[in-house]
Symmetry: C2
Subunit: 449 residues, 2 copies
């Protein structure tokens, strides 16, 4: 039993939480004018979050200051993973940008040093890396590799997966919205919904669903290329169970497919108990892809793979990425890796995440608010439902909490096919006083609902 039963037309999480551009009359004149200029020159694709859009002018660590001088606690942004404007990144980028910023057609040692350190964090099988600029490029490249190596074209993703914005990746990102239609070579598998299925049954159910997808592809004469999964099932509503994927991966391997672990969300220590999501499953993924937090905001992504996979692809296809592996983004990425180690950010993520989880759960129980609090480290979800018997999604409560927190100057968002799951995903440097401030405001908002 999954959330899939609740109607056929999932809500767009961003839409629900976004400013309605046709109704901005409540905003001040300056903000209205800026929104109009933005719309005129950047078109309608760009959305602003919150009913009262945030106008940031500076940031540091876990704090963002807006145009009015008001300070916000950032409990949402995972790109500045080691904190907004971390001095180590500023220093590394400034130094490297004054020195050299060129491409991989020349021989530089900095990228090799970084590549060796990055692959070493992944475990013995994933020893090769290629560099891109974004998570979208990483997933696009990973699937090119999987198709090349397997000869198959079939792709399995979770029901409400998001893996990126290129044409190909959009084709297997059902949460892309915009009238997304399912391609003939794509199959969707329900996420391991630990809120609606017992923990002991979830892994077996998930493996059975994956097997059904493979059989269905085979019925259409389509061989499997890969199953690509975000180990936290972030856009499906956040399911952080550690047992869900191992059996399913075996099913994929038996069918000759590859397992791609999309580490854009869980990677770089966010879960607190592992550097990479695939390690939480005791799983050797064939490919792991990286993006967002890799350079703390400098655009850099990566694809780590087993040498057998990367050799087969790289020997045949002369892939080149102009900015991928430039010295400056690599310098930023090196600083991020160093800071994660030196500031013990994985341990901090585990500690502060556990406190946030327990604190939010206590507030919700005191208020008698039907919900499920879950997650790993500093990636937490709070699913709101109308009641605990039917567990019917309640997106309006989630939206009220997000905008209530924003009024109390704490930034979070919502996620999931019904936009009824709070997304709490702060920079990993979240401090004890940040935790205290967050929980104080959260308790206020929950009590006032």
């Amino acid at each position: 039993m999954t959330t899939q039963q609740f109607g056929a037309s999932p809500v767009d999480a961003v839409e629900l939480n976004a400013l309605d551009p046709s109704d901005i009359s409540a905003l001040d004149a300056d903000t209205q004018q800026l929104i109009q200029r933005r719309r005129d020159v950047m078109g309608p694709a760009y959305r602003l979050v919150y009913t009262d859009p945030l106008r940031p002018v500076r940031a540091l660590g876990t704090k963002i200051v807006d145009v009015n001088g008001d300070e916000y606690l950032d409990a949402y942004n995972n790109v500045p993973s080691i904190g907004h404007n971390h001095p180590r990144v500023v220093e590394a980028v400034t130094r490297q940008l004054s020195l050299l910023n060129t491409n991989t057609r020349y021989l530089c040692s900095d990228i090799i040093d970084y590549a060796e350190q990055l692959t070493a964090t992944h475990g013995p099988e994933l020893r090769n890396v290629m560099f891109t600029c974004t998570g979208s490029e990483s997933n696009d490249l990973a699937m090119r590799m999987a198709r090349h190596v397997t000869g198959g074209t079939g792709v399995i993703v979770s029901n409400h997966a998001y893996h990126g914005n290129t044409r190909d990746v959009s084709g297997w990102s059902p949460s892309s919205g915009g009238g997304w239609t399912q391609r003939a070579d794509v199959r969707l598998v329900p996420p391991p919904d630990t809120f609606r299925t017992t923990a002991s049954a979830v892994a077996e159910e998930f493996a059975d669903q994956v097997a059904a997808c493979i059989a269905d592809l085979a019925d259409d004469g389509i061989a499997l290329a890969a199953m690509i999964i975000d180990p936290l099932f972030s856009s499906d509503g956040l399911y952080a169970d550690r047992t869900s994927l191992t059996a399913a991966a075996e099913v994929v391997y038996r069918a000759g497919g590859l397992v791609i672990s999309d580490e854009v969300q869980p990677g770089f220590g966010r879960t607190g108990d592992a550097m990479w999501g695939h390690q939480r499953w005791n799983l050797d993924a064939d490919i792991a892809t990286m993006g967002k937090p890799m350079g703390n905001g400098l655009p850099i992504g990566g694809v780590v793979a087993k040498p057998s996979v990367m050799s087969a692809f790289g020997s045949d296809v002369p892939y080149f990425n102009t900015f991928g592996g430039e010295n400056v983004p690599v310098a930023a990425a090196q600083a991020v890796l160093d800071v994660i180690r030196e500031e013990n950010l994985m341990a901090n993520s585990a500690d502060k995440g556990a406190q946030l989880l327990a604190g939010m759960r206590a507030s919700l129980q005191r208020a008698g608010r039907p919900s499920d609090v879950r997650g790993a480290g500093l990636y937490l979800g709070v699913e709101f439902v109308t009641d605990l018997d039917t567990k019917t999604p309640d997106p309006l409560i989630a939206s009220a909490v997000v905008n209530g927190m924003r009024r109390r100057r704490v930034l979070i968002s919502v996620v999931g096919p019904y936009a009824n799951v709070l997304k709490v995903r702060p920079p990993l440097v979240f401090s004890q006083s940040d935790v205290d401030r967050f929980l104080t405001e959260f308790d206020h908002v929950i009590r006032e609902l």
Copy 2:
């Protein structure tokens, strides 16, 4: 009559000019070890240019200094378009990185200011812009727009086009190499080869070829989405004629398709006579795409489009690009735009480009070397042939010149389906002394062939 007649198996320009990784014994021990480490961790996809790879450690303006302290004149790199490590970019990036680097879900004025200035350089029709991180992402997004707006799927590109590295874009980048196979919805058109066709006939021939492509697609029941063209036909061997595309564009419009101008190579003033390649044709492209030089090395790309195109796409598809439009890359892009204006880099490109063209032509004529020197501004090509009667491509001479120039510490490369065309494409800040140094070394190399 085009170069297509010379055999069915074009040479990979990078391959021909690349280091053969199986034969590095002539290099010093330190370089050999670095190459081995790189291969071990980054796999076989990465190529190094030159038979003796360059090991840069710092750069400034038009100069690159290698690990031995030797200074090279950079007449190749178009990413650092306003010069390596331009102080204005260093200053802008450092300042912004210490202040704020966030995404387009919040409301910031810097990106709107830049968007307005950027679109203003394109002319009255192209008034909307969306931001990406790379030229590949820009072209991928542009073609998604074209398909969405037209309902067609057919794509027309030039014979040896390169538009990027995503799965979709690779499908219409025949020069990608690696056993590229032509998709059913892609048609190839020979470039307007001004070396083998008279200038007066080239536009009409090109339009006829485009019409034939459209008819061929229609025969297969495929409606045209777009013709996407690099206005300099860079990877086809560099054809900079200003008359080639106008008639062909009319053919495309009559068939209901869009014209996409890939400005990654000609854009930002490189041609010396226009800010954008499509302007050289007196053509209002429907979409223009940008990448490489936009942020002088900071990863940023863009898609500029007619509001009718962007509205139709953006209203339906909630495209989001995490790093696309972040404050730091936008700050770099703003500095680039400012410097192009303030340092009169378009005029410099025209002036120094004309001198390089005349000087190279004189050296080649003195040496009696059968060749064609062509280009626009600071994007110049020198095509080597065995003789001027058959005009048979001569890639070995081109390779000898590239490596000869590298030994004399000037960096250039080769391009074109037969890798027989020198690619001379320096930063736009190329100075008078740079021109003199380049031509002196070029004359030496040509005389010693």
